[in-house]
Each structure stands twice: as structure tokens, then as C-alpha cells.
Amino acid sequence: MTRVNLALLILIACVASLPLFGGAYALRVGTIACMYAIFALSWNIVGGFAGYPSFATAAFFGFGAYATGILLNKGVPLSVAVIGSLVMCFLLAAALGTVLLRLRGHYFAIASLSLVEVFRELVNNATDLTGGGMGLNIPLASGSGILADATFFFYAMWALLLITAVVVMIVSASKLGFGLNCIRQNETASNMVGLNSTLYKSVAFGLSACFVGAAGGIYAAWVHYIDPSDVFDILYSVKPIVMALMGGLGSPLGVVCGAFVYLGLEEVVWRNYIQIHSGVLGVLIIMLLLFLPHGLISLRSGMFWRKAKHV
């Protein structure tokens, strides 16, 4: 267990203490923070480790949300529904990955972006199953009080974050992680030395999708009503990238910090600059990319326990 990973675990543990500091609203924001961190960590597997700039996060978030929503509507208990979404997303992503991951760079980015559009339109048109443009109602999981509900969902998202972080740590220390590293640096050479890059990439893509899907499931149960434009929103694909860039590509600790800082910025901007918040966000992104291309982690020179690599 490296020091970095330890730091990450400690950070996550600290977040768990949020209910002691704030009421239902703070828990709501905390839940979103955990969700963003899950996005960033998951994206990092395929974007940071493997070097494939994926824009498919929103596709699997939405897929997971709808899968869980539909299962819940059929009476399946929440935990089973979420695990079901997780497994479905993993398999789906791995399968799609074998086809899409043959593309590199720009082309892969566009293909993954198109996935979001395709999934959204498919859901939009399957009106009988998903409610189409009219959205999907999800039954209230429990009739309990506000605080109990908020705490429940906060801990559910937090637990998922912990699992994701642990898996990411295991991956980075394992043969898979090593293989992804090789693929990022030089895929052709990796293939030549006998690394089964298709398998590794597909697994990575699958892993990057499954936790996002599960997060989508928890999200759906949390908000009780989802519609295609909400959950298949391109921004859910772009934000993890910005978070990862902010925190430092490739580093799990970095991306999680990036996620939290991003959320903080987003909240501050949203509250104070109502009319121009997306413009301010744009300015932030540009500043970030021009002046801090390696993320917050790089602010401390000489601390490259993991060099943030170019993608």
C-alpha cells in the first residue's frame, strides 16, 4: 500500500464524517461530491491509466440509472438492482470496448461521445419500457424522514466510492495496471511483446463503466424521477475529464481531489454568478488548461510518485 493510496483512503474516510457537520442539504452536496469522485476515478482507469480519452461516462451513467430504475419499478430491491446495473454496465462496456477501442485519439473520443447520443435516443424511443421523453418514475425506496433518507443515500454513494477507490488501487498495483501503463506509452510495442491489449483495454473500459453505472443506479433511486436529457447529459462526460485534468491525470488521489475542488468551484460559481455561471466555468477550464496542464498535483514539484503523463 503506497503512501499515495493511504492518503486517498484517509481522505475518503474523512468524507464519511460529513453527517456530523451538516444537515440534509450538506449531505445532498456530499452525495454529489462522492458521485463526482466516482466518475473521476472511473474515467481515470481508461483515460489516465490506458490513455484513451473516453467521453462515454454519461452513456453508462444514464444506462445504469435507467437499468436500476426499471428494475426498481419491477419490485427488485435496491441493492440487487444496483449490483445488477453494475454487472450489466461492465459487460456492455467490455463488449463495446472490443469494437471501439480499436480507434485511437480523436476518433475514439468521438466514438465514445456518440455512444452517449445513441444510448439517449434509444432510451428516448423505447417509450413503453423507459417512458421515453416523458421520463421514468421511480418508487420511493423508503418512507422515512428527510435526514434518514439523505444519510442513507450519502452512505450508499460513499460506500460505492470506497469500493471504486479500492478497485482502482488494486488495478494500479496489478498486472492489469502495468499492462495499461504499457499500452498508454506505446501500444504497438506492447502488442509486440505479447500483451493482449484488446483484452486489457476492454476490461479497463468495462471497469470504467461499471461503477459509473452503479452510481447512476443510486442516483436514480435518490431523485425518483429521471428523463433521458437529464442523465445522458454530455456534461457528465466532460466534467470527469476536467476534474482529472484539474487534479492530475493518472493519479487516483489527484483525480479525487480534483473532483472535490471542482464541485466546490461549481457550487460557488452557481450561487454567485447566476446568469454567467457556465461562462465562468469556461474561463476556469481555460485557465486550468493553460496554466496548470498537469493538475493540482503538479503544484508541488518533486513529488512525482506518479508522473502525470500526456494522453
Binding site: 468521438i110 455512444l115 447520443e117 466532460v238 475529464i241 481555460i286 493553460l290 496542464p293 500526456h310
Partner: protein, 288 residues
């Protein structure tokens, strides 16, 4: 006959799509930058045309002439001052940067112009021509003709002028172009400026046909994407081919399986092309 009508609609629409995509394709092909601001440029051009017509009484045809140099300058400066810094950065960085720029531009437009939809209605209205049961609106025809003229102009520019040849050279082989004495930095800026000018002009033409609002920028961008992938990057003929193919698929798909599925179909087609034939219909053969 329905089939013929659908076909004619698609042909006309396809040229418009090509017009939307050509600037995008140029920037992507030459600078290897996916310019996510493209959609917003188009909308800005449309506003220019609308404003000129509404307040100054300037007909859109003249607006074209005004738009081109304005947008060229805007794009040139943008590239020179901002995008040039990340020109050799990885895909992710340039994509996210242009995404950020687009957020700013789009937000500014919503702030100043409001999100209400505006319409440029020419008075007197131009009506439609009807030939053997097939109806074609005149304004679309004119816009299509202008779109073709624009792309033709670009083609000539790239083929005949020194700057144009330099752009093609950079597109084909950047390093060799440097060796040949081409000032790549300046070419990048010119190409981006050109892309912006084309987007602005496309916007002026679109103002005649579609409603104008900052909210439509993502729709234009989406079309540009698909056209580029289908037709092939960086070539005028590619953009035309891609535009026609997209319009045909949408039109026929709409008629056979309903409009709701037509959008899905176009993106599925995109993915299929990306996987099976990423260089598009007409591939990377430079500008021809």
C-alpha cells in the same frame, strides 16, 4: 411521388449540411483540433445576418461579405493568442479547451441575445417552386446554391492560391512543410480563421432557413461531426459526400422508421463508419 420528394429534400439539405461542416473539417484536418466552438460560430453568424437585416436592412447576401472577414479575424486572433499554446498538446487538452471556449461564447450569446428563438423572414417571402408534384422552397435552393458557391470558392482557394497550397501542404505532412519553408504557425492561424469565416458564412445562410438561438449550436456541431466522419476529414469533396450521405440516411430513415429514430440512425452510422472506415467515404487525400 414521395420517394422523389424525399430525395430532393435530402439533396438540398445535404448541401446545407456540407456547408455547416466544411469549416469544421478544415480545422480538424489541418490543425488536428476538434473545434467545439464551431456550432457557436455558426449561431453568431446567424445573429449577424439577422441583426443586419432587422436593424440595418442589409440583405443576407451582403451580410455574407461582412461576415467572412469579421469571423476570419476573430478566428485568426483566437488561434494565434490562445489555441496556439496548446497546439501540440494531447487530444484531451485541445478538446476540453475548445469546450471551455464554447461555454464562454454560448453563455455570452445567451446573456446578450437571450435564448428566445428569432427568425429571419425575408419580405417579400420567396415561396416555393413546384415541379411535377415535387415542391422545393426557394430560400433553401438559394441557400444551397450559395453553400455550393462557398465550398467551390474554398476549393479554388486551396488549389490555386499560395496560401491555399501551403495549407494543404501542412495538412498532408507538417514536418515536410516546415522543411519547405512554410510558416506553420501562421498557416495554422490562417486555417483556423478560414474555418471560422466559413462557419460565420454558413450561419448567415442558416439564418434564412432555421430559427436562430444559441440553443441550436449543439445541433449544428453534432451535424458537423457526423458529416466529417462520414465524408472524410479536410477535403471539400469529403464534406459534400458526407453531407449528402447524412441527409439521405436521415430522410430515408425518417420515412421508413420514423423521425424519432432518424437521429439514432445517424449516430449509429457514425460509429459504424468510425470502426469500419474511419477515414470516411473520400478518405484523406488532401484537398481535391
Amino acid at each position: 411521388m414521395l420517394a422523389v420528394q424525399v430525395l430532393i429534400n435530402a439533396l438540398v439539405l445535404g448541401c446545407l449540411y456540407a456547408c455547416i461542416a466544411i469549416g469544421f473539417s478544415l480545422v480538424w484536418g489541418v490543425l488536428n483540433v476538434i473545434n467545439l466552438i464551431h456550432g457557436s460560430f455558426i449561431v453568431l453568424g446567424a445573429y449577424l445576418a439577422w441583426g443586419a437585416y432587422q436593424w440595418l436592412g442589409i440583405s443576407p447576401w451582403y451580410a455574407l461579405v461582412i461576415a467572412a472577414p469579421l469571423f476570419f479575424a476573430f478566428g485568426y486572433l483566437l488561434q494565434r493568442l490562445l489555441l496556439n499554446r496548446v497546439i501540440s498538446a494531447p487530444v484531451l487538452v485541445t478538446l476540453t479547451l475548445t469546450f471551455g471556449l464554447d461555454l464562454i461564447l454560448n453563455n455570452a450569446m445567451i446573456y446578450y441575445f437571450k435564448a428566445d428563438y428569432r427568425k429571419l423572414t425575408l419580405s417579400p417571402p420567396t415561396g416555393s417552386i413546384s415541379l411535377f408534384d415535387v415542391v422545393v422552397p426557394v430560400d433553401r435552393l438559394i441557400a444551397t446554391a450559395s453553400a455550393l458557391a462557398l465550398t467551390g470558392l474554398l476549393y479554388l482557394l486551396l488549389r490555386r492560391s499560395k496560401v491555399g497550397r501551403a495549407i494543404v501542404a501542412v495538412r498532408l505532412d507538417r514536418d515536410a512543410a516546415v522543411l519547405m519553408g512554410v510558416d506553420v504557425k501562421s498557416i495554422y492561424a490562417i486555417a483556423f480563421g478560414l474555418g471560422a469565416a466559413l462557419a460565420g458564412c454558413a450561419g448567415v445562410l442558416m439564418a434564412l432557413i432555421f430559427p436562430i438561438s444559441p440553443l441550436t449550436s449543439s445541433a449544428y456541431l453534432g451535424k458537423a461531426f457526423v458529416v466529417c466522419v462520414l465524408g472524410g476529414l479536410g477535403s471539400v469533396s469529403g464534406a459534400l459526400a458526407g453531407g449528402l450521405l447524412l441527409a439521405l440516411v436521415e430522410g430515408i430513415g425518417s420515412t421508413l422508421i420514423g423521425p424519432a429514430h432518424a437521429t439514432t440512425l445517424s449516430f449509429v452510422l457514425l460509429i459504424i463508419f468510425l470502426v469500419v472506415r474511419p477515414q470516411g467515404l473520400l478518405g484523406r487525400k488532401g484537398f481535391e
